[in-house]
Symmetry: C2
């Protein structure tokens, strides 16, 4: 798989809540950086963070608006959607990924934390 | 110029505070969207927004970490740095650009507004 395809396959696995399949595409030393929040270092910490938002979501639907790749870097613009009950959270995100030897070594998402918090509290 | 080169030239012109040169690379109907803030529609509104942050900065230095392009889309990961007196604001940003017929029609920046506000108030 190309870096572009690896990122797409990873995102599909997360949306299917198949974290085994997702983490099979992540390097042991993956860095998962939610820029306005904490950074998870390593596969175990990344999986723990993924489990937390997969666990709180009945449905996950990430809409990719654009995805461009060059060398080992992939960038995408997305709306990450998470359903809990009747309610969808919709987070506008821009992501930067690095894929080396077929495995994701960096996943960094840029988004507005306050906008997310407002949605979570029902104000957004 | 390619879309990639157009975006680079635009950013260089802004850093040089040469808004005539910058706006020469923008379409009349450019959309300039600071995701957690307002969106400027059109060249005049975009120039007004640029003037506000160019005016408050003695020096502008945008560090591009990655920039990738495909078709008319360019994405980049940056640290946008603005100096006022002795103090630098440093904003982690991911941008999405569209360039059509040599002119920028979309410039959308993803960043964390609260992180920026904390820096502006001296807490960050």
């Amino acid at each position: 798989m190309s870096p572009d395809e690896t990122v797409t396959a990873f995102m599909q696995a997360v949306q299917a809540k198949d974290l085994d399949a997702a983490m099979a595409l992540a390097a042991a030393d993956i860095e998962y950086d939610n820029v306005p929040m904490e950074t998870a270092y390593g596969a175990e910490a990344t999986r723990t963070m993924l489990e937390s938002f997969v666990g709180m979501s009945e449905e996950i639907d990430w809409v990719v608006h654009h995805q461009v790749a060059a060398g080992d870097i992939v960038m995408n613009e997305r709306t990450d959607r998470f359903r809990s009950g009747e309610r969808w959270l919709e987070i506008p995100v821009a992501g930067v990924w690095r894929v080396e030897d077929g495995l994701i070594t960096l996943w960094r998402d840029y988004f507005d934390l306050e906008g997310l918090m407002k949605q979570m509290s029902g104000e957004g």
